[in-house]
């Protein structure tokens, strides 16, 4: 029925989505390794458990509730209709030029990314089961609702439409990253700092991560996976135009990461006189987050510069949040929140279809919704199950109290 050319386009676009989706899924491993490397040994098993379990929770809740909420495709209970093909349209009318299940697969791994951001910020003190309960709500409702206002094209509570206001967020600097950071910030505020992080004199005490090779590996994984994250967000590749766009996105994503690395490396060098690897890793991620809002229009030079600025900013943001006694063991709020916002604000520099006002309104809308609703959910959990482990459990470490097993049981620790 379809022309052979169409069949091939359909096949290529679908395959491209699946490859990009697999790369984004791989980012879950990146977050897990990054966080496992930056916490202390005694909380490693627990953070690994959180990271891998939240991925499963995100997949299931997004299938059960979130995807329909966000895109309103009429696919029925638990997406029972998703196995048809995009040509015919799932529940009629809307037709896609690729497989609907490939679209779901690509979207679902984004949800998990948003949630992964939270786990790092609340690490080393939050209860495992309370965390997973929050994950259920964020991935089923909080994220899909703001997603419906942006990528879903729906009105914000029937009041205004972000797209009409000139809001543009290519792959989710705001929709995914800043949203994750907003949820994390709400959690951290209710949770408080790790014991010992700020001493009696009010000074910041360093709590070094236990395994920097793991953290570096995690960053490399995220760097690689981000090609899928941004590259897949072109949403098509089977024509000269879209292929060019995907290629530009890959190139710029890479250049921004490189710029972010150099920015953070130099900032840390100037501030401390040493090459702080953990800042370098955050710089890479900052470069990636900043370009995510618009990787298709900047020149490679501009992408590098945007990354550079983000890399410098993230260093100051991390130091600043610490001064405010907002304890974020992995720097997630700075990397994804502060830099995510920067990414949104930089879009109009290269993309004429976006307006600065639209970006600001969009950012405020997303942040407010996610922060407030998350705060409510965290507060509810705090009032019922509790969100923080006991002081004794915190001292002993989450590995034994939550998971009953150490991450490195044979190694002596200092």
């Amino acid at each position: 029925m379809e022309t052979p050319i169409f069949e091939l386009q359909y096949a290529l676009d679908t395959f491209y989505f699946l490859v990009c989706g697999a790369l984004v899924m791989w980012m879950a491993a990146g977050f897990a390794m990054l966080e496992a490397g930056l916490v202390r040994a005694k909380n490693t098993t627990e953070i690994l458990t959180k990271n891998i379990a939240l991925f499963a929770v995100a997949c299931i809740m997004y299938m059960a509730v979130g995807y329909e909420l966000m895109y309103d495709k009429g696919l029925g209970m638990f997406l029972s209709g998703i196995m048809g093909d995009g040509v015919a349209g799932a529940a009629a009318e809307e037709k896609a030029s690729y497989a609907p299940s490939a679209d779901f697969f690509f979207q679902v791994v984004f949800v998990a990314t948003a949630m992964s951001i939270v786990s790092g910020a609340v690490a080393e003190r939050m209860k495992l089961w309370s965390f997973l309960l929050f994950a259920v709500v964020l991935t089923a409702v909080i994220y899909p609702v703001e997603g419906s206002w942006t990528w879903g094209g729906m009105d914000v509570f029937g009041l205004y439409n972000l797209g009409d206001l000139g809001f543009s967020d290519f792959a989710g600097s705001g929709i995914v990253h800043m949203a994750g950071a907003a949820a994390a910030l709400a959690g951290v505020l209710l949770l408080g700092a790790r014991k010992g992080k700020y001493n009696a004199q009010g000074q910041v005490v360093a709590i070094p991560g236990a395994n920097l090779p793991m953290a570096t590996l995690g960053t490399f994984i995220l760097w690689m996976g981000w090609f899928g994250f941004n590259g897949g967000s072109v949403l098509a590749t089977a024509s000269v135009d879209s292929a060019n766009s995907v290629a530009v996105v890959f190139m710029n994503t890479n250049m921004a990461a490189a710029g972010g690395l150099v920015g953070a490396l130099l900032a840390a060098r100037l501030l401390y006189g040493k090459a702080d690897l953990t800042m370098v890793l955050n710089g890479v991620l900052a470069g990636l987050v900043v370009i995510t809002a618009e990787p298709s229009t900047p020149t490679p030079l501009l992408a590098t510069l945007f990354g550079l600025v983000a890399g410098v900013l993230v260093v100051f943001s991390i130091i600043g949040l610490d001064k405010l006694k907002i304890d974020d063991p992995v720097g997630a709020i700075s990397v994804h929140g502060v830099v995510g916002l920067l990414g949104l604000l930089l879009v109009p520099v290269t993309n004429d279809n976006a307006s600065l006002l639209g970006q600001i309104i969009g950012a405020v809308t997303i942040f407010t919704w996610v922060f407030v609703s998350s705060l409510a959910v965290w507060a509810l959990i705090k009032a019922t199950l509790g969100i923080r482990v006991s002081a004794a459990e915190e001292y002993q470490g989450g590995d034994l109290s939550e998971c009953g097993m150490e991450a490195y049981p044979e190694f002596m620790s200092q």
């Binding site: 360093a206 709590i207 070094p208 501030l271 040493k274 702080d276 610490d322």
Partner: protein, 112 residues
């Protein structure tokens, strides 16, 4: 019988061990320790926050020897472990009343 305990800089362990075996000391037990003393630790920065490494890695070496060998052992250790810089460490001598070799049950001088 005396127990000679020396706390030394880790990279001197091989030298000390060699000079002890030169004078015929056969048995040594070594432990990794952390030292606090006149020599101060250092301050590092991690993500902008200070990070005081206030202990220093040292090695503790214990050897039980006959009373008349104590001076010789002290000299061997002092010579081998001395760098002239602060933090070279200490030697302590304390009494041992009995010593047994587990394998054979030998006691006293035989057991060293």
């Amino acid at each position: 019988m005396k127990l000679v305990t020396a706390v030394i800089k880790p990279f001197k362990l091989d030298d000390v061990r060699e000079s002890l075996s030169e004078i015929g000391v056969q048995g040594i037990t070594v432990t990794e320790v952390k030292g606090f003393g006149r020599q101060k630790g250092h301050t590092e920065l991690y993500r902008g926050a200070e990070y005081v490494v206030d202990f220093l890695p040292k090695v503790k070496l214990e050897t039980v020897v006959a009373d008349d060998r104590v001076e010789q052992v002290i000299e061997a250790i002092t010579n081998a472990a001395n760098t002239g810089k602060i933090g070279d460490g200490k030697i302590f001598v304390s009494p041992i009343e009995q010593i047994i070799r587990i394998r054979t049950g030998e006691t006293g001088a035989e057991a060293v």
